[in-house]
Amino acid sequence: MKIMGTVEEVVKVRNVFFRYDKEYVLENINLDIFQGDYLGIVGPNGSAKTTLLRLMLGLLKPEKGSIRLLGQDISSFCQWNKIGYVPQQMRDFNFSFPASVEEVVAANLYSQIGLFRRIQKKHMKIVYDALKAVGLEKCSKKLIGNLSGGQQQRVFIARALVNHPDIIFLDEPTVGIDAKSQEEFYQLLKKLNEERGITIVIISHDIGSITKNVSRIVCMGDKKLIPYQRNTPFRELLVQVYGNEMNLTHGFEEKKANAQTLRKKGKGDA
């Protein structure tokens, strides 16, 4: 359940700098993520969104600055079972891997089972509960490669759910998934966020669908993070981040204007 009134930072990024080579890709990044947030991090390709995510997951180490997860410094953080991670599917996933859905989901029970021990029946119940939560209980025996892209992403959500996580991080989860499945996927995340109070952090370059669904947005661009306030025009922010006005909105308004002039013309002719 979501606890109202208490605002707790689950992720706290302070003055973080990071570089792969000579040049910094992230400079002086500050970000607070609160419990129960449904946060979207948007930005153009190559704006180091994934880098920021990997820093927050401890997969990369910042050169300067600090990152705290659930109140603990990342370098000594050990409650990894409370963190769910859904990787960028297109990059990381081997589609012909001979694993069934339940095997993939059960693998993440490691923190509950421990080294050298085997998966038992009671663990499989947790797996089925997680699959039920994402609506895939009927697919548990199927090969993961035989599912659709949308279903595969839901399997990865179920994989995160077996540990009852506090936060789920998702990296471009809807790439290559059709519009209808994308919508269902966002609805599922919303449900998990509202009903279970799971903090959700989602990275995407697809501004259109993400702004509709999340409750808070930050933009990345030019090595910086720019928070989006509801009262500032979104357009200005896009110019700041993407360097030009998005053709998407631009084109839409042009079309609208054209339609209006046409209509006026029509009326004038009549």
Binding site: L57, L59, C78, W80, N81, I83, Y85, P87, D92, F93, N94, S96, F97, P98, A99, S100, E103, V104, A106, A107, N108, Y110, S111, I113, L115, F116, R118, I119, K141, L143, R159
Partner: protein, 286 residues
Amino acid sequence: MPKRSERREKEMLEILQYGFMQRALLAGIVAGALCPLIGIFLVLRRMSLIGDSLSHIALSGIAAGILMNIYPVGTALLFSVGAALAIERLRKAYAQYAELAIAILLSAGIGTAVVLISFARGMNIDLFSYLFGSIATVLEEDLILIFLLGIWILLSVKFLYKELFYIAFDEEAARLAGIPVKWINRYFIILVAMTITLSMRVIGILLVSSLIVLPVATSLQISKNFKQATLLSVFFAEIAVISGIFISYYLEIASGGTIVLLSVILMLFVLIGKGFLKRLRRTVYG
């Protein structure tokens, strides 16, 4: 006069009475279980050629052992375990080219082996049996080593099964789940080196990687989950090994090559059978 089939049966039982044949079968069965068991994780992690490079390193170990007059399988084991650890290091240095580490060690191994072999002329005959496998010459001391290492590897895979599976499927997520990925990877590569060393007696250095890869390739075609893929690959390997040993004995041909050829035939059989079934289903259901 007994019928032909009866005579065959009698012959079959007879060959099992020979000590060398018993040793050959036992060693073969162990290698047939271990190679695909290790192989499935290697293939899925796109490291299937590691068998080749470690076996070439093992060859230089054999040559060194023969030169220094030490038990060659022991030196081969030492060499290949050392090389296995080096591969893990090189894999990090060339993170974007996983196969490069394997190629580097393969060249280093064959280079060392050739130089060592050129030192001593007389050992060519001995080497030949290691290169192509000579199952009939498996000694009792070989068998003891094969069994001890075999049990160790089998238990290791059994107890680390879920960890190895997770690392093969998604190494990053495995790390996030708290699995000590680095240590398990190192330990696993040592298991690979041990498997190759103990199998080379049976199937030969040049052919050992095929027993690691082929049964896995066959089982990947038809398995519905990971457990099935593992068990089926062991099943296919055992069919090839056991029938290969008998066939090579009767036809008086090389056992290693026979086992490999049988594995290839099994794979083709499964591939063709699968394609045929697919076409049949399409014509029946439209």
